[in-house]
């Protein structure tokens, strides 16, 4: 499990690699929050392209990061959520709260 961070065009993109379960969620939460809290970006993006497992702890992680971003006045988006993750999001109703995109295209600023 690992996380890589990219900053692009006022976006803070966290790519979560590997598995998200209760054990990992704590580590991920602390890492993400410490960066978000010290950032002036306008949007927080969680990229789940390389997330190959997620249980309900992942739902908690996503919701928690969304709430944190909101509190800091940042937008929040989930990208590259595969079918299984989408299924969990629908089961919990989280898909109605959070912006979920298939993939995210970055436009170069002029």
């Amino acid at each position: 499990m690992g996380i890589s961070v990219t900053t692009t065009n006022n976006e803070l993109i966290f790519k979560i690699k590997g598995e998200i379960d209760h054990h990992n969620a704590v580590i991920l939460r602390n890492e993400i929050d410490s960066i978000v809290e010290n950032s002036s970006s306008e949007m927080v993006v969680l990229d789940l392209l390389e997330t190959n497992f997620m249980d309900s702890a992942g739902l908690g992680l996503i919701l928690g990061r969304y709430r944190k971003a909101e509190k800091l006045g940042m937008r929040f988006m989930l990208v590259n959520a595969g079918d299984r993750i989408l299924r969990l999001l629908k089961m919990s109703g989280l898909d109605k709260t959070i912006v979920v995109k298939g993939d995210h295209i970055h436009e170069e600023s002029v």
Binding site: H23, D55, S56, A57
Partner: protein, 143 residues
């Protein structure tokens, strides 16, 4: 005398969060002989992950303990899983099984554990004795 089930494993492990991943690996290995689809395997892994996490987070809270995992194959294609902890127990099981219900205020628990187990497995039974133990039994037919 012949066993009613084709194969069985009984594993006891410490109720620590790093063993959530271990439990998933164990069930993957055990299930291989039934040649599950990727979908079936993921469903079972996720359901088991929820059960083990519940034992750690709720059964034992901040205390140490053991989790007993029993897996069996019945009738050549039915998976049976039982997860038992010897922790606090559940006072009101039907309330605990309500979607979104969680007693965990501090950390970011979604309250979806039982819903996920119910959805991804064919059958879920929860029994408990307050102050003594909680047992989750799940079954799934692997096609």
């Amino acid at each position: 005398m012949k066993n009613p089930y084709k194969n069985q494993i009984k594993i006891e492990f410490d109720a620590v969060s790093q063993n959530e991943a271990l439990a998933r690996v164990i069930i993957c290995g055990f299930l291989m002989e039934l040649h599950p689809t990727v979908e079936e395997l993921c469903d079972v892994k996720t359901a088991l992950s929820e059960a083990v996490t519940n034992s750690i987070v709720h059964g034992y809270k901040d205390q140490s303990g053991k989790i007993k995992l029993i897996c069996r194959i019945y009738n050549d294609k039915e998976l049976y899983i039982s997860v038992t902890d010897f922790g606090r127990g559940i006072e009101d099981i039907s309330k605990a099984r309500e979607p979104m219900f969680t007693t965990d205020r501090e950390s970011e628990r979604s309250g979806m554990g039982f819903t996920i187990m119910e959805t991804f497995m064919d059958e879920l039974k929860v029994t408990s004795r307050v102050g003594k133990w909680t047992r989750i039994v799940m079954r799934k037919k692997i096609a």
